[in-house]
């Protein structure tokens, strides 16, 4: 109980710290991803003319893009920030008896909070453009859960590995960009030549993005995609946690 309360306080502080002293405050959490989405939307949708369906108007392209970008941005942000969680909180680690696995979890949970509000905007825009919303938007908590589980597993892994090998934070930035382009976020999966499509099978984010789009935009129950996402999320988080536990005593010697 106390642990949960502490986690809540840490997440709240994390969210407040990043906007402390700024004029727009909370709005920045929404403005940042929206800017990216509009930018990519312009380049891929208007300039390059990519479409997810035949004769899709460009507004709807942006909607698809947004449904793909939001989980990606959440994952990217949590993993990048978590990879420095132990290094940044070094002084706290040595003065508080809290279990150290809490610290990588903080950026993951704050990203879930910001993603939740971004999703609300997505819903508003979708309702406005599509005229109605499907009932499957009630799956959003499950979608978010799958996203958080995946991010947490990666967050723990990278948080505990980075202190041993600082180069990881550099490599991570590249890996995450690679992930962005290796996932059908800017383009539909069927634009990729068939001989390459098997790669998506190994990309957890592929299932997640499909589930997001299915539930929020296409009005279908994304049974397979959602189940695979949740299962993968569970596996990734358990593996990540075990790795973290295994290395957490040794990591104190190199911090």
């Amino acid at each position: 109980m106390t642990l949960l309360h502490t986690l809540f306080l840490l997440v709240r502080r994390d969210l407040k710290v990043r906007i402390a002293g700024s004029y727009l405050g909370v709005l920045w959490y929404i403005a940042q991803p929206l800017f990216l989405i509009l930018l990519y939307g312009f380049v891929f949708g208007a300039v390059l003319g990519v479409r997810f369906h035949r004769d899709q108007p460009s507004e709807l392209f942006v909607l698809y893009l947004m449904a793909g970008m939001l989980p990606y941005i959440g994952l990217q942000e949590s993993v990048l920030r978590a990879s420095n969680a132990l290094v940044d909180n070094r002084s706290l680690l040595s003065s508080s008896p809290l279990p150290i696995w809490l610290y990588p979890l903080v950026p993951v949970l704050s990203s879930a909070v910001t993603e939740f509000f971004a999703l609300l905007i997505l819903l508003v825009v979708a309702w406005w453009l599509l005229g109605s919303l499907s009932v499957w938007i009630m799956l959003i908590p499950l979608l978010l859960l799958a996203r958080v589980l995946m991010s947490a597993g990666l967050a723990w892994s990278f948080a505990v590995l980075t202190p041993f090998l600082r180069d990881i934070s550099q490599i991570l930035t590249m890996l995450l960009t690679l992930l962005l382009f290796a996932t059908p976020i800017f383009y539909p999966a069927d634009m990729v030549p068939e001989s390459w499509r098997w790669i998506f099978g190994f990309n957890p984010l592929y299932y997640l993005v499909s589930a997001y789009r299915g539930a929020i935009l296409e009005g279908v129950f994304p049974a397979v995609a959602l189940c695979v996402s949740l299962a993968l999320g569970l596996v990734v988080s358990i593996v990540g946690f075990l790795l973290f536990r295994r290395l957490s005593l040794a990591v104190r010697d190199v911090l």
Binding site: S94, S95, S96, P97, P163
Partner: protein, 399 residues
């Protein structure tokens, strides 16, 4: 009486890697790639509930590591440590504070980091604010605080938790004098309430007055544990010994053809080298005047503490004491201190045989007859000076 802390052959070593990635390779390949830095070796002790333990030692002796082990932020490499009850540690004051947030917000998070629940935090909040004396400043961001305010907030926070065992590391050397006293009083309160306290400080006086027992760490090993004033005194002796400068100025002896020299110098109370403050101490000095007249010789006696402090030096020349030869042609002299007024420490004698001008040294015996003094009570310094206190009604009555 129950025990609060039991430490059994406690060891802590850090692994030193040439580069951090070696630690990872070691885990994966199971080949040793580190050097061990032993910080604590086989430290065993126990502390009764309600007792107070001081921890002293030089820098790098392992004090902080021991306290971190007690606080639970580090784990022993081997050995057994049991601490019963809730531990609150003042190790790094305010390390969890965030500069952008105000005092209250930092207190709330700080309490949570110390393991308090939300209700306990709210209950403790008014007390923390009151003790810190920050008043309205608690609503300002911590980055606007002076370092004194910062420390006040941190100290109030840590001691607001109601611990069974309080671990304090050097925390009191910060803040202004007024707050230092206040925090010291708070610690005393804890002691009076029957809590166990482990207190580490370079301020040996504080250790002596606050703690009943004391533990001396020397290069990671337990050098001594016992009654606080005894351990502190021994520690100070050892420190002065080490601090002793290369050597005091060398007094040149004038080789005199006439060859006056000391025959022997000894304590009147033969073999006694431990004295209590207030006891009598006497030296017997025998001199062979050679071919010099006894009355043309003088003897100087200097008492030095082992850190080369000249405590007191006097000579027969200064005191106008004439020397005479005895029946056997030798001079037999007694140097007597009817009431030794030295405080605890290690001392020794520097004894010189001088000519009638007091300028030439005919013979010398330096750093001889070491003796140890112990005093009871909390006075500090080198010697007990004769003094008295008076309280007057009016200023004019004080001379």
């Amino acid at each position: 009486m129950s025990t609060a802390i039991v430490a059994d052959r406690l060891c802590k070593h850090y692994r030193l890697y040439r580069q951090p990635v070696d630690a990872l390779k070691e885990l994966l390949l199971r080949r040793q790639r580190h050097e061990r830095l032993r910080v604590l070796r086989d430290v065993s002790f126990s502390l009764d509930a309600g007792d107070t333990l001081g921890v002293i030692g030089e820098n790098g002796a392992g004090k902080s590591t021991l306290l971190k082990l007690l606080a639970g932020t580090l784990h022993p490499s081997s050995g057994d440590l049991r601490v019963s009850g809730r531990v609150s540690a003042i190790l790094e004051l305010g390390s969890g504070f965030h500069p952008e947030f105000n005092g209250i917000e930092n207190i709330r998070l700080g309490c949570a980091l110390l393991g308090l629940s939300a209700q306990e935090t709210e209950a403790a909040l008014p007390g923390i604010i009151a003790f810190s004396e920050l008043d309205d400043a608690v609503y300002r961001p911590v980055k606007t605080y002076s370092s004194g305010m910062y420390v006040r907030l941190a100290f109030s926070l840590v001691t607001a938790v109601d611990p069974d065992v309080l671990v304090i590391d050097e925390a009191l050397s910060v803040g202004d004098i007024y707050f230092q006293k206040k925090s010291l009083d708070r610690i005393r309160e804890f002691i009076d309430q029957g809590k166990s306290v482990v207190f580490c400080s370079h301020n040996l006086y504080q250790v002596k007055t606050l703690c009943r027992r004391c533990l001396w760490l020397d290069h990671g090993e337990l050098r001594m544990i016992g009654d606080a004033s005894e351990v502190v005194d021994s520690y100070m002796d050892a420190m002065r010994e080490r601090a002793k400068a290369a050597e005091a100025e060398d007094v040149a002896v004038v080789a005199h053809a006439a060859g006056a020299s000391f025959l022997h110098i000894e304590f009147a109370d033969a073999g006694k080298s431990d004295y209590a403050c207030g006891e009598p101490l006497a030296l017997r000095i025998a001199i062979d005047p050679g071919r010099i007249e006894a009355r043309e010789l003088h003897v100087g006696v200097v008492i030095m503490r082992n850190d080369n402090i000249h405590v007191y030096g006097v000579s027969t020349l200064i005191d106008d004491q004439a020397l005479t030869a005895g029946e056997d042609g030798h001079i037999h002299l007694v140097y007597e201190l009817p009431e030794l007024s030295l405080l605890s420490g290690l001392y020794s004698f520097y004894i010189y045989l001088l000519d009638d001008s007091g300028v030439h040294v005919m013979d010398k015996q330096e750093n001889v007859l070491p003796f140890r003094v112990r005093h009871s009570g909390d006075e500090v310094g080198v010697a007990r000076l004769v003094h008295r206190w008076r309280v007057s009604e009016r200023v004019s009555e004080i001379p």
